[in-house]
Amino acid sequence: MVRLAGLKRRRNILNWAGFAVVLVAFVSYIPFFALFPATRDIPWANYLLFLVGGALIAMGVRRAFRYPERHAGRISGLVLASLSALLFAFFVVGVTYFSKQIPSAESALRVSRKAPSFVLVDTARQPVSSVDLLKHHRGLVLVFYRGYW
């Protein structure tokens, strides 16, 4: 492509803005959107961000190829588009596959079974007994969680 003398090609901001949005879509799930059940169970907010970022990059790449005399960013656009596609794929695999890699709950105790009693220490290293808790409460919710190791 012949570049017109004196006409400086502008940096293609759409590519970089789009990639920035894709990065936000990728990294924001765990520290932010996963905190709210509405955006956690189905990560629609992150999908939406990926879509916006992808659209911006698509526009950037399109104008870089259509008007190469005015817009730079053909190579950077393709590289950023590929990176974005990779991040999106990784995100989708993470929320549809990796987060489901837990054993089946077949052996878990079911409703109407007697709950095994326990004595476990709390954060102050004081023993806490389920029998005592049930003596003083009308019910008890046990929340088992993976922990933070």
Binding site: P103, R110, R138, V141, L142, R146, G147
Partner: protein, 109 residues
Amino acid sequence: MRGFERHINEFHQRGVEVVAISVDSPAESQKLCQSRGYRFPFLSDPKAETIRQYGVLHAKGGEGGKDIARPAEFLLDAGGTIRWVNLTDDIRVRASPESVLAAIDRLAL
């Protein structure tokens, strides 16, 4: 966990206590509770004995092949009988406190 913390008063109003159980040490749980402001008991089951008894062990699920708990919620009545259970198949998706409160009201504990 944050959800349970936000609704903890509603559990206590119903005479129901919430406890969290994991293999984390008391010191690790204390750090977590302090940074997030959790006010209900966090209990430590380092050998995953209680976790095993409830059938919610995730063998070698932790760092370095450590046995940990899979996410699960149980509701016990005062007689120690399990009245409601939530077993997710996705570590991201947990029981909402609202659904546990609804179960408490429905079962009239």
